[in-house]
């Protein structure tokens, strides 16, 4: 009997015991927006390939916008990474610039796309980073462009300098795909 009564008392006190609300963390590492800005060298309007996912991993699915490129054209490509969850939005591109030795972007044609992308920047060791690139289109094609950012890759491994991801290793920080039409 005593046992039952004491249990009831404990239960009643329990319902009163709560803990304070958690502090919502600032996820400063999250990349919510990746924009690959393509500007034709010969002039003309800028094309933005964009991946946008303001709530990060969970929640709503990301919005991906691909683009239409002109054939036989050379574009200057600039990568921009933003965390829109912070106010004001936090520029992650500069973090990559600071740690250029530990980062490299890779660009791969998939599903029949024919693009030629060359690095237009280097880190302190003379290895490419990929924040600045030159993109050349040739004949008309359609497919997807896969952009990957590797953290701590082996930049000296065979063919990595030329943009071949196979031997790069490291961890993937970004892996996004854009539908592209060249016509």
């Amino acid at each position: 009997m005593i046992r039952i009564i004491s249990s009831i008392i404990l239960l009643l006190t329990l319902h009163a015991c709560k803990i304070p609300d958690p502090i919502i963390p600032n996820e400063d590492e999250v990349i919510t927006t990746l924009t690959y800005k393509l500007t034709p060298l010969t002039g003309g309007s800028e094309i933005n390939l964009q991946f946008n996912d303001p709530d990060g991993i969970g929640g709503a699915p990301p919005v991906i916008s691909g683009g239409n490129l002109a054939p036989n054209t050379t574009y200057k490509g600039v990568m921009e990474l933003i965390n829109e969850q912070l106010h004001p939005p936090y520029n992650i591109t500069s973090e990559i610039e600071k740690e250029a030795l530990d980062h490299q972007f890779f660009f791969e044609n998939e599903n029949g796309l024919l693009l030629n992308i060359m690095y237009d920047d280097t880190d302190a060791n003379g290895h490419p980073v990929g924040l600045n690139t030159i993109l050349k289109t040739t004949t008309a094609s359609t497919g997807t462009l896969k952009i990957t950012l590797r953290h701590q890759p082996d930049k000296s491994a065979a063919e990595v300098k030329g943009g071949n991801i196979s031997n790069a290793g490291g961890e993937t920080d970004i892996e996004v795909e854009f539908p592209i039409h060249v016509n």
């Binding site: 958690p22 963390p25 990349i31 991993i57 969970g58 990301p62 920080d173 892996e175």
Partner: protein
């Protein structure tokens, strides 16, 4: 083989009619038997240190040492192949000693006779000897337990491991640290129990159906870590133990000291460990070092003949590196790692340096046990246990964030209990208790990540009643436990902008268990245990949410989970065919309704890091059936052959597939040779163990990234000797043939081979 424990009934009888107080006329007589089999132990010796003389037991186990003066003496008791042990006695008259040595460590005990927590007689208990704890002081708790049949280990590399008993692990088993349910974040598969085996004196496993007397949330089986009461010896005693291991160049240093006093008795123990990168047969496992320091204190105070208080406190502190090549960003990385012979980031340089990814864990425990013994038949206990668990996990991150933990949790747990133990007649007991436990878990701010596990507070109130008895040849036991669990979890939304979403859960559970043991004869015993146990879903099963770095999957909790209901039956028998051949077997069947597991979903979730598979906590029905077998054959006093076999089949009966993370079947053979006692080298033996782990064939390809690895065989060699009675020496070789293998229960099987040959040297000095 060693003396695992030794219990003595001191009976003082006068068999000489005239006593002269100061004359050296007293005789120490006694009988030495095997605790498991009650066989007399011929040639066992009793040696009085102060007098430098002793006697050996005859074929009936009897010994006698005559002409002893009144005084206090240290006795050394030993038997071929058993570990020598000290005993302290006060000789005031002729004295008769009954000594039971644990000669068969491979045999299960019926009762735990050590420690303060007496166990039921109908369940089977399997122990690790005190000497085995010392020999393996460099290892984790789980790796020591793996020696027992039916116990496997779930690993995250060689540094992080947790025990699996008959297919159950994590929250489904109860780990008792000196009678206190080990708190800490036991939900994580990559979280090892924060216990240093060296700080305790006894480690044992009960493969049971229900743990009614303990407030955990387990489904029956128990790992017990216990300190023995401080030996009643007024002198300062202790030991130092040092282990060096070639693989990882690991150093382990342990020390223990104790002293008994009528006023206040104390014991103190400590451990220091340091090891660097371990080595697989072909390459270094980069970043697998470990630093650890632990300290334990035990104090016993007797206030009056009725009242006594025991205080135990311990501190566990570790910093463990996790294989660098197992830290991956997404599924592409995982797929690439799977195709590699050697993990990424493997260096050919040995280092003690530990970098991210790594875990820093600190666990503090205090227990105060107050015992009031009203009379021989009625005992009350009022206990408090407090635990603090501080866990920090560091990932490889951008910027300087690798020095900021990606996960930082602090858990406080308070436990109160009031227990009553009443003896009605000689063999009938009633045990009951009420228990209250409150746990809070907080994510420390400043990690810069959304927490994988939300903050929560959980409160459990429980009470139990157990009846035990002996009726003619049958021991029986029956009991009931009721629990009320309350859980409150304020979670952070995954949609943006972030909001706080609050959830509460209440669970009321009733557990029932019963068992009987039929002692058909001294040589043949058979026991049946059965239990119905309910487990409430844990916080990770309800609310975990986020990316699990190690396996590149998004894990999502399910707030709608129901309770798990387990029904388990164990049939066990012990058979002594003759004095040379023993056989023990446990056959079990467990049905779990609404078994909680991580189910891979069909959808892939697209993120900036690529597409990830999603796993959600789901429920199904599970059936587990298995057999554990151990047999020993002793063709001569010098030679012994021990066989252990474990079989387990775990099925998901709803989806008609195997259950994941079920141990594969294993068989192990051990041959031990005990040398004749030398002049200097005593208790010398050599043993060779060959263990086969079969392939886990019950898993479909669709349930995992890779098919389970092939089975493997490992050989171990061990040489032990004592140099006089103070110094013990062990040389061991694990993975003798440097076999290259991967284990299904190791999460790092996707990335790297297990560690290769490891030579260990151990020296211990006791005083």
């Amino acid at each position: 083989m060693s003396i695992k424990n030794i219990y003595i009934t001191l009976a003082f009888i006068s068999f000489q009619s005239i006593a002269f107080s100061q004359s050296c006329l007293w005789t120490l007589k006694g009988r030495i038997t095997d605790e498991s089999t009650s066989e007399p132990l011929e040639f066992a010796t009793v040696f009085i240190t102060e007098l430098q003389r002793g006697d050996a037991a005859d074929e009936n186990g009897n010994f006698a040492i005559k002409n002893i003066c009144p005084g206090n003496y240290h006795l050394q008791i030993s038997h071929i192949g058993c570990e020598g042990q000290q005993l302290y006695i006060k000789m005031r008259r002729d004295t008769l000693l009954q000594i039971a040595l644990h000669h068969h460590t491979e045999i299960l005990n019926e009762v735990s006779i050590h420690g303060t927590h007496d166990q039921s007689t109908v369940q089977t208990l399997q122990s690790i000897s005190k000497d085995d704890i010392l020999k393996n002081a460099s290892k984790n708790l789980s790796d020591i337990l793996e020696k027992l049949s039916g116990v496997s280990v779930l690993k995250n590399g060689s540094g992080i491991s947790k025990p699996i008993i008959n297919g159950m692990y994590g929250n489904r088993i109860t780990i008792l640290n000196n009678g206190l349910v080990q708190a800490g974040q036991q939900w994580g598969n990559d979280h090892a129990p924060e216990i240093d085996p060296f700080l305790s004196d006894h480690i044992s496993v009960i493969k049971g159906c229900a743990s009614l007397a303990y407030g955990g949330n387990g489904l029956g089986s128990i790992v017990m870590i216990e300190n023995s009461p401080i030996e009643e010896d007024p002198h300062l005693h202790g030991l130092v133990n040092y282990v060096y291991q070639t693989n990882g160049r690991g150093h382990t240093f342990n020390a223990k000291m104790q002293q008994f006093n009528d006023q206040l008795s104390w014991k103190i123990a400590g451990t220091l460990k340091k090891s660097g990168d371990t080595h697989a047969p072909d390459y270094y496992l980069s970043n697998t070092g470990k630093n650890e320091w632990n300290l334990g204190v035990q104090v016993h105070k007797k206030f009056s003949p009725e009242w006594s208080t025991d205080l135990q406190a311990s501190s566990f502190n570790t910093n463990i590196g996790i294989l660098r090549g197992s830290h991956i960003g997404n599924v592409t990385d995982l797929e690439q790692a799977l195709t590699r012979e050697e993990p990424f980031f493997t260096t050919d340089q040995f280092t003690y340096h530990i970098q991210a990814p790594r875990q820093e864990v600190n666990h503090e425990l205090i227990k105060i046990e107050n015992k009031w013994q009203k009379n021989d038949r009625l005992i009350f206990q009022f206990n408090y246990g407090g635990q603090l668990n501080n866990r920090k996990e560091y990932d490889v991150r951008r910027g300087d964030r690798s020095t900021i933990p990606a996960l930082s949790l602090k858990q406080f747990s308070h436990f109160f209990e009031a227990l009553m133990h009443k003896e009605y007649s000689h063999e009938n007991h009633l045990k009951s208790g009420i228990q209250f436990n409150i746990t809070t878990n907080k994510n420390n701010p400043g990690t810069g990540t959304l927490p994988l596990i939300p903050d929560y507070i959980s409160a459990r109130t429980g009470s139990y009643l157990i009846l035990e008895g002996l009726n003619n040849k049958i021991n029986y036991e029956a009991g009931v436990r009721m629990d009320y669990n309350h859980l409150y979890a304020p979670t952070i939304s995954r949609t943006y902008p972030r909001t706080i979403e609050k959830y509460t859960h209440d669970f009321f559970n009733i557990n029932l268990a019963g068992g009987a043991k039929y002692n058909i004869s001294e040589d043949f015993k058979i026991a049946l245990n059965t239990g119905y146990v309910v487990r409430s879903p844990e916080i990770n099963e309800l609310y975990s949410n986020g990316l699990h770095q190690g396996v590149s999957g998004i894990e999502e909790g399910n707030p709608d989970l129901k309770k798990e209901k387990s029904f388990k039956t164990i049939l066990s028998n012990e058979l002594k065919v003759n004095t040379k051949f023993y056989l023990q077997a446990q056959l079990y069947y467990q049905h779990i309704r609404d078994y909680i597991y991580l189910k891979p979903e069909k959808e892939l979730r697209l993120t900036v890091r690529g597409a990830f598979p999603v796993y959600t906590y789901n429920q199904t029905n599970a059936n587990l059936s298995g057999l554990d077998l151990q047999a020993s054959y002793e063709p001569s006093n010098h030679l012994k052959w021990i066989v252990k076999y474990s079989y387990l089949n775990g099925r998901d009966s709803k989806n008609q597939q195997g259950l994941i993370y079920m141990p594969a079947n294993t068989v192990s053979n051990q041959i031990q040779y005990d040398f004749t006692e030398g002049k200097v080298f005593k208790n010398t033996n050599i043993s060779f163990t060959y263990k086969n782990v079969f392939r886990q064939n019950n898993i479909d390809l669709s349930q995992d990234f890779l098919p389970p690895p092939d089975g493997y065989s490992l050989a171990n060699l061990e040489l032990n000797t004592n140099i006089n009675s103070r110094v013990k020496c062990t040389i061991s070789v694990e993975n003798l043939f440097n076999t290259r293998y991967r284990d299904y229960l190791d999460r790092l099987r996707y990335f790297a081979d297990e560690i290769g040959r490891n030579v260990g040297i151990r020296l211990a000095y006791s005083f």
